[in-house]
């Protein structure tokens, strides 16, 4: 029998339809892989009983010819998505043993289409981080290592568990969320494909909120086609999220392999940073050359407010987070640390429940929204955000179909290596991705090569609002040219 965990979703779909194997066999193979890979710390909760029950039910449906578009596909779910009767923590101590009595819209659509849940995936606490080191369950280990080294590397964040599990063949795809780069940066660090859809494309209902005007759910998968298959099930209008857009969901998979001939691809000069590693520069030129060879036209473009996106983000995101996280008060759910008064109960609970990074962001957010500082910080940041969005609008209005940039300024780094002394050092990871969230645009990170140490590097494509299809077509061109990258399995013998 072929190795059931190394297939793509598209291949598994064919195998299941041909009855080469059952959904239960496919799920069991992944449960075994998860068990052997516990040292990666990608899953914070394994749900084998539920997975087998779901797979068995899907097999019965497939036998009757009623399998959905994701029938029998085993997935991992970021622990930011509320899953009914399954512990959901956002990897924060403050949610403790929270067990939602409801299901997030995005995951409910995956189950509607026949997918199987293997378990909940690790992430930075409340999705605040770029290395998955702020999780209360501890860091996730990247399945990729530098050549000839055993140093544990981070998978990026905040969707570090999702990226690590997909890259290590523990699940065929995973849900993730992206507020400033949390899907695309970990995808780039693990040689997976990560899609941050247009704001409003996927419902935010039932996803633990970080910064509501920036948060968007999307898939991490091993190929562009698989990401397209997953996004079709995840996307769609939801009356329970007023920012969710009432717009038909296209068949994204149909965009795979579509010609990109004649498309105009913008190369933004502001993304060429001083001191950028030569290999990132080289990767970017290679990516441009591949798209050109496929018939696209390259044009130099300017996005003048690019450098202000990250500082504006570090006002807007913490401000919204300080407001969203006000709900964790020790009264209605989660952790409670007693106090003599209700005020003391709040303060004690939040001091014990929030980790350092979350506390720092809630405090800075509280400050920039406080009386006397609102105009100088928050209002100014929202104006800068208008300018960032305008840069993109003008670029697209000039006929540019998509923009090509590096996904990250470096490859994966070591656990404990960054941000210890200065939080800004960690924040700089998102320098190429954060602009996309500020403008509400779709972005995709696609594996494109390796650095001198053998670590994966990714390219990012940024699209027009609701034009994820173009990103999939272009992403496929990069995938065909660069090939796919799989890490050697050092973390455990597989069944």
């Amino acid at each position: 029998m072929t190795d059931l965990t190394s297939m793509t979703i598209a291949e598994a779909r064919t195998g299941l339809a041909r009855k080469s194997f059952t959904a239960l066999e496919l799920t069991d193979a992944h449960l075994a892989a998860m068990e052997a890979a516990r040292s990666l710390n990608a899953f914070v909760l394994e749900t084998p009983d539920q997975a087998r029950a779901m797979a068995g039910a899907v097999d019965a449906k497939i036998a009757k010819g009623e399998g959905g578009p994701l029938a029998g596909i085993p997935l991992g779910i970021k622990d930011l998505f509320a899953t009914r009767d399954v512990r959901t923590t956002a990897c924060s101590k403050i949610l403790g043993n929270f067990v939602p009595p409801y299901e997030s819209t995005v995951t409910s659509q995956l189950w509607r289409d026949g997918a199987v849940m293997l378990g909940k995936l690790n992430n930075d606490e409340f999705a605040m981080g770029s290395s998955n080191e702020t999780s209360c369950f501890g860091p996730v280990v990247n399945p990729w290592r530098r050549e000839g080294s055993n140093t544990a590397l981070v998978p990026g964040g905040s969707s570090g568990g999702s990226a690590s599990a997909v890259a290590a063949l523990l699940c065929m795809g995973a849900t993730a969320t992206d507020t400033g780069g949390s899907i695309r940066q970990p995808a780039a660090f693990t040689a997976t494909v990560g899609v941050k859809p247009t704001y409003g494309r996927c419902s935010r209902w039932g996803i633990v909120a970080f910064a509501s005007s920036l948060d968007q759910a999307g898939p991490i998968a091993r190929t562009n086609r698989d990401a397209a298959i997953l996004l079709r099930s995840m996307a769609g209008h939801d009356p329970k999220d007023t920012t969710s857009v009432d717009r038909a969901v296209p068949d994204y998979e149909a965009a795979i392999g579509k010609s990109v001939k004649g498309m105009k691809i913008g190369i933004p000069r502001e993304y060429r940073l001083d001191g950028m590693p030569a290999e990132i520069e080289k990767l970017w030129s290679e990516g441009a050359a591949w798209l050109k060879a496929a018939g696209a036209e390259l044009v130099d473009v300017s996005l003048p407010h690019t450098k202000y996106a990250l500082p504006a983000y570090y006002i807007v995101a913490p401000a919204e987070a300080s407001s969203n996280l006000a709900r964790y008060d020790g009264v209605r759910y989660g952790l409670r640390v007693p106090g003599r008064s209700i005020g003391e109960l709040y303060e004690n609970t939040r001091a014990a429940g929030f980790g350092d990074e979350v506390r720092r962001r809630v405090m800075i957010g509280t400050y920039v929204l406080s009386a006397g500082y609102y105009d100088a910080y928050y209002l100014r940041a929202q104006k800068v955000r208008t300018l960032i969005k305008r840069d993109f609008e003008e670029c697209f209005a000039s006929g540019v179909n998509a923009i090509l940039t590096p996904a990250t300024p470096s490859a994966a780094f070591g656990v404990g290596e960054k941000g210890g002394a200065d939080p800004i050092e960690m924040y700089l990871n998102d320098i190429f991705t954060v602009t996309v969230n500020m403008a509400g645009l779709p972005g995709i990170a696609v594996p494109a090569g390796k650095d001198e140490q053998g670590l994966p590097l990714g390219l990012q494509l940024i699209g027009r609002p609701f034009d994820e299809e173009t990103l999939f077509s272009l992403g496929e061109v990069v995938e065909q040219a660069a090939g796919r990258f799989t890490p050697p399995n050092w973390w455990g013998a597989k069944a």
Binding site: F98, V99, P101, Y102, Y199, G200, S213, L214, T242, T243, V245, H305, K307, Y308, P311, A312, Y314, I315, S322, D329, V331, R332, Y333, G334, R336, P338, I342, E344, L345, Y346, E347, N348, R350, A351, F354, R359, R360, V362, M363, I364, T366, Y367, S370, Y373, A376, Y377, L379, R380, A381, Q382, K383, V384, R385, T386, L387, P423, I424, A439, G440, P465
Partner: protein, 95 residues
């Protein structure tokens, strides 16, 4: 702009997070590092620019003013640390 120790204590209180005296200098340093980083926004000319209020241009949707959920008190209090008869219990608020 930068914050002093008294401001750090005031922010912590506004955010309802207990902070010990020993933690104040460290937090002050971190917050000031972030404020120094965002300081560069002051060089942007935002004269006449509207602040962004909606990411995608769309009219706010409204739902019908009808009851479409409820009668799930058991679910609502299921995860609460302390409850009694479907009420959340807290320390005495009113004397």
């Amino acid at each position: 702009m930068s914050v002093d120790a008294a401001t750090v204590r005031r922010i912590a209180h506004l955010a309802r997070i207990a902070v010990t005296e020993a933690e104040v200098p460290h937090l002050q340093g971190e917050l000031n590092a972030m404020l120094a980083f965002v300081e560069q926004l002051s060089e942007v000319n935002v004269e006449g620019v509207e602040p962004m209020t909606s990411v995608t241009p769309m009219a706010m949707k409204k739902r019908g003013d009808v009851v479409n959920d409820g009668e799930i008190a058991d679910d609502v209090v299921k995860n609460a640390p302390e409850t009694q008869n479907h009420f959340f219990l807290v320390p005495k608020v009113v004397e």
